[in-house]
């Protein structure tokens, strides 16, 4: 009796798994859907977790400190730009590309390319130039994500700002980073840099 039952169970299981059940398509789709949500959500959550100030300062603590006295960190309205707002592209594909590039920086971190303040100071200009170049190439995209030229009210700006923004910036001759260098970090030795 018990033997019969056992074979019966195995046979039933065999049948269940060898023949497509009525709900099979639905089950697979449903599992795929839920799995998709979990995977996609988890992936995006991971991406966001590596975009927080706490995560960045884990390694870049000294340079995160530098922004704290600037207008992008302490200001009257309480709007704050954190590392990723300027240093990680907001568009999804560009963001992935940048994140993959960052894996090289992880290697550099672990072999200790820049692991003392002195080494950092020695390379500060090189690092700054890379960021200036990147912002020059993309027409200061990360600035413009918040500071939209179309929305600028010149009547609310200082005289000096209006003079510059209504001429060089309006004509596209210059982009934000051409003048606004060192707005969030200390500047390197500026000898030989255009405009200094």
């Amino acid at each position: 009796m018990s033997d019969n039952n056992k074979t019966g169970l195995i046979a039933r299981l065999w049948q269940l798994f060898s023949k497509p059940a009525k709900i099979a398509t639905g089950a697979v789709l449903g599992m795929g859907f839920i799995g998709g949500i979990l995977f996609w959500g988890g992936f995006n959550w991971g991406m966001e977790a590596t975009n927080t100030e706490a995560f960045c300062s884990g390694c870049h603590a000294p340079i995160v400190e530098e922004i704290q006295s600037t207008i992008h960190y302490s200001n009257r309205s309480g709007v704050r730009a954190i590392c990723s707002d300027c240093h990680v592209p907001h568009q999804w594909t560009d963001k992935i590309v940048r994140k993959v590039q960052a894996s090289k920086e992880l290697v550099m971190h672990f072999i200790g390319t820049i692991d003392t303040p002195e080494k950092f100071e020695a390379r500060r200009k090189h690092l700054a130039e890379r960021e200036w170049h990147r912002l020059k190439e993309n027409d200061s995209l990360e600035c413009r994500n918040c500071h939209d030229f179309q929305f600028m009210d010149f009547t609310e700006q200082g005289k000096r700002a209006v003079t510059m923004h209504s001429t060089s910036l309006a004509s596209g001759d210059k982009t934000c980073i051409d003048c606004h260098k060192g707005i969030a970090h200390a500047l390197p030795d500026m000898s030989g840099v255009e405009g200094w």
Binding site: S69, T70, G158, R160, G182, A186, L187, M190, G195
Partner: protein
């Protein structure tokens, strides 16, 4: 036993009298004797409410000078303008290279001279740190009223008369 109790009482009296005498001393020490200063009339051990921070003048016309050789004042905000060995933000507008094109006040040629009277091709090290002489302005009333008047020759208010 009696001596023990009496000595304890005596020492207690001594300690309390010493402590109270000391307290009086302290009070005398912190008294300012009725003087009032820039901080107002307050005792030295009082912590007064701090004044509100003054706002820097953000963007103004060139401010007239009050006496000959007065370093011109800075009529604009200079928050986060880095002036150190690596860079000088002021010179990126006021330096001779850029002043004309930007419309800023040129730094005076005296800034190119060294202590020995040599004229250099760029700002002399002793004149490099702008903020030693040139200062931004805040919208703050004078702490003490005074009747200082600018030299006649420089006073724009007088010249129009």
């Amino acid at each position: 036993m009696k001596t023990l109790i009496s000595s304890m009482v005596a020492s207690l009296l001594l300690v309390t009298s010493w402590a109270s005498a000391n307290a009086v001393d302290n009070e005398e020490f912190v008294s300012n004797g009725g003087l009032s200063s820039l901080r107002g009339q307050s005792e030295l051990n009082d912590t007064k409410q701090a004044e509100q921070l003054k706002k820097q003048v953000k963007d103004d016309k060139v401010i007239d000078r009050n006496y000959v050789h007065q370093p011109p004042l800075i009529p604009h905000q200079i928050r986060d303008y880095q002036v150190d060995l690596k860079s000088n933000k002021c010179l990126s507008c006021h330096g001779w290279k850029f002043a004309g094109q930007i419309g800023a006040t040129k730094i005076s040629p005296t800034h190119f001279e060294t202590a020995d009277g040599l004229t250099l091709s760029d700002v002399a090290p002793r004149r490099y740190f702008c903020l030693q002489c040139h200062v931004p302005q805040a919208d703050a009333p004078p702490l003490i009223a005074n009747d200082f008047k600018a030299v006649d020759a420089l006073d724009a208010a007088n010249s129009s008369r």
